[in-house]
Symmetry: D2
Subunit: 298 residues, 4 copies
């Protein structure tokens, strides 16, 4: 029943019987009790559960449950059908993810390679439990490097004239083939046609501590303002530029001695770490989105 994976000296074992359930619904009495009883009566053992309620009276309820269930693969469809009745009663948005069904990623990148390199390194080290299905870029620069990992590389140039056509092509290569799109310093604005089907499934890294320094050249903006700390922000992409739900942020102290080039250098490490954390949490089904904010169970 166990699949073992040896990577970089670590042995990880994934029980093919493990799953994760995510629930969002209006708060009300009996939700936890009903859900945990449902799982218990179906023979599942709850390994981890997290729960959060905004404003107990009349608010929203969020839950993440990790559970083991023998012969999950055969029983998952029945389990989902049974749960749909409960979900309907409580007006739940919900999902069940099997750990053995790895999420498929597309990484979009332009010329700056540090976020891509970090994701590939963490993936190779066994720290990102996903499949990297493809890398998409508007430049050919990293083709050879990416292909050396056995990952397909789609070079789709974007110019003002070919933008619409390029977006169409992007949509074709990802459509139905990936679960998550990661913008690893991809410097083009995505088309709504791509954002809509991947709502809350496109993660971007913005190289500032949002909402400070929205838009282009945030390090130059930070330098001009004379801030003493710089940061990076990973967020889900919405139609509003740099305005989507924030997943993770981190910062580092800087000083008057640091010019724009030095801010960029320091920032690259923050960007790498923040983006990799956000991707890891998404892959591990730790993030629930409500309105323009995230609940992160980590």
């Amino acid at each position: 029943m166990d699949k073992h994976m040896k990577m970089n000296g670590l042995v990880k074992s994934y029980d093919t019987n493990r799953a994760r359930m995510l629930i969002s619904c209006p708060d009300g009495p009996g939700i936890v009790s009903t859900v945990s009883r449902f799982l218990f009566e179906h023979g599942a053992n709850i390994v981890q559960s997290d729960q959060y309620t905004i404003d107990p009276e009349g608010g929203m309820f969020f839950m993440r449950i990790e559970f083991d269930l023998a012969q999950l693969e055969e029983r998952i469809d029945g389990l989902k059908q049974d749960f749909a009745k409960i979900a309907g009663r409580f007006q739940m948005e919900w999902n069940i993810f099997q750990l053995s069904h790895k999420k498929k990623l597309a990484i979009f990148v332009s010329k700056e390679d540090h976020c891509l390199v970090e994701l590939l390194w963490q993936w190779q080290a066994g720290d990102l439990d996903a499949e990297i299905s493809m890398v998409v870029s508007n430049h050919p620069d990293m083709k050879e490097y990416v292909e050396s990992f056995g990952i397909p590389y789609y070079h789709i140039p974007v110019t003002p004239e070919t933008k619409r056509e390029a977006e169409q092509k992007q949509l074709e290569v990802v459509n139905g083939k990936v679960d998550l799109i990661v913008l690893a310093r991809y410097m083009q604005i995505l088309s709504p046609a791509l954002i809509q089907p991947y709502r809350n499934r496109i993660i971007n890294i913005h190289h500032s501590f949002l909402p400070a320094f929205v838009g282009g050249k945030p390090y130059a903006q930070a330098y001009d303002r004379g801030v003493k700390i710089i940061g990076a922000t990973a967020h889900y992409v919405t139609e509003e530029l740099d305005g989507g739900p924030i997943i993770e942020q981190d910062v580092q102290r800087v000083s008057h001695r640091d010019d724009v080039a030095e801010l960029k250098r320091i920032g690259r490490t923050i960007e790498r770490v923040v983006l990799a954390r956000a991707v890891k949490w998404h892959i591990e089904d730790r993030i629930l989105v409500h309105q323009n904010k995230t609940v992160v169970f980590n």
Copy 2:
């Protein structure tokens, strides 16, 4: 049903019907389901629940549930009696705390006043939801200051000759009157006779990043070793000096420019913040102790 408290411009409302349940037990199937069903069937609404399992197979299970129950005051005894049966079945160590029954604190202090001042300030600002029942000190210095808050001050001098007698006196003043003892830079080693009845209910602040620099003069030790970061550690007191379960730690960057006096100055702020956090978490029933480690649900 609500009690309102106005402090420092903030209005907090505590429902007298709110309680918190802490559970530790060997892991096994059905625990979450059984507990949540129990609460549901007794008419309680779960506001917040946190759960953690060390090593799912044959490991330990920890849970914290915050719930509302109408007419809690009248029904708490019955609830506890009913729950005792479940608890027996799962070999649970457990407790239920009512929010309206505030925990009673004794703060022990010697000559350094910064941790005491911080706790009193946070308490006055409404950030520590407890009663400060007394301050105990081996020095008379802060008597007037403490009494200006309307808090009793017990000056119990400790000398090598009177140590046993002093400990006896300390035991008398706290015994049965306080739920938690906070050592706010109290520079005497406690007697086992005091530690035992207050196991996991005495919090000490050690002025280093434990386990580095156990014992006396940790800032001088840190300076001599040339560390680039200093810290402070809040832990429960056990018979082993600076060896009890760690609740919280924090750190700050220092440089070669900082001499021992400067390390102490920087350290005072870390100590204040770390101790106040640990006390707050204990008061809010967020800490479970297992062997020599803490599970902190925050």
Copy 3:
């Protein structure tokens, strides 16, 4: 020649012969050499020097020198006269501060007391080497508390109708009597008539990580945007609201569990620490302002 001060167990000794020199000027060859030779030939011993140049060719040069000079009190005027010639040659803005001449502070406060309490506590602990000459407030609430330290308290109410008159009064009480004005959560906008004579000598604490969340209710803004880190910013006050040169910033991680009240609670500790650091650095003559940015030698 030495003055000893014993506070809170620390002994600090200030040589009355110690001074600090701050210099800003266009960069060019020979500045360090000329200044250090000048001091050497006048018998001064350089204890500490810091220097920074923006863009070596055609840029700006900044310097802070701490030095000892025997019989400083008698010789300071002559020293300044002699140095004026050098300063003229290099178009320097410069100043020499004697450590024995403590800076005089006015603290402005409204109803939130945490920043005021922190400054008074650090001052009492011997960590702020200044005189607190007065506290000015638009509310009477903290009069008794402040006066218990022997510090004069000026209650100057501000209403839309009396704003001009109140500003006039503020100007009168501080004018010529203080070297630095600290806005310790003073919630009124200062009049340009007060800002101008105290340019780069008024420090404000803004309760956000600027430039994010300028203006009112920054914690509510931060909550609405769903940020994962909050911060505070100490800056010199200019005519532009929250737009002056940033002196110091710090941050703390928050989560979806923290509502606005909790953000405020966490924020209060960040505000206290950040403001106290900025005030300390100003008092120790560590800050040089150039255009809208600070050079901080710490």
Copy 4:
């Protein structure tokens, strides 16, 4: 006179006329004045200077000066000869480094690749201004990867029987060919015969917040102690295991949820960042060692 290097979108220009001078000596009057006058009279322009004195009276003085001097390459020998007289007078330990003479590095590695990968990536990105002359390993695993960068890879196996011979071989491959040895998770203890000629020129990364958890398996030790923060430490290697002068440390918050494997995963990122910082500072001549501590001008 300028050499331009384009890497990863950044253009850096190094003036071949730039140099750095490091000085340690007993403190006394006139040092800064003498040194800056010397440079001025030789036509050098000071771009940056940092200075630090331990205990002004009878203490130690440390200085780092970055300066430009026309035709440096031709004049450096004369400059050094002239400065030797001054150095003798003040009992200085000193050195002058030309920026155009890049330091040569040997990286030692065992099986864990993350620190090596980070250094190579930063080097390729133009962030480490040095030559990587070779990688030395007791395992063959990373030969192909390293050689793909055009860097020689020396596989020198180490067994208890061959240890002495292996050390001899290591000494031969590095001797006279490298300026700095970086132990990037090299899991063998170095021989004193290698340490001695490279005193203060071998940097090790230890995977704990020293002095906590000296020796083997620090993450397992940290887990057992239940610490709430883990860290990593870069230090110069001395004959005492994990006891040499600390260059840099950093930390990250962990929780009861993190098992040993997770601590290792989190720790790998801290290790990478801390080691890269320490190496960068060494390369930029920012570190002075005094007794068992470092002065870092950054």
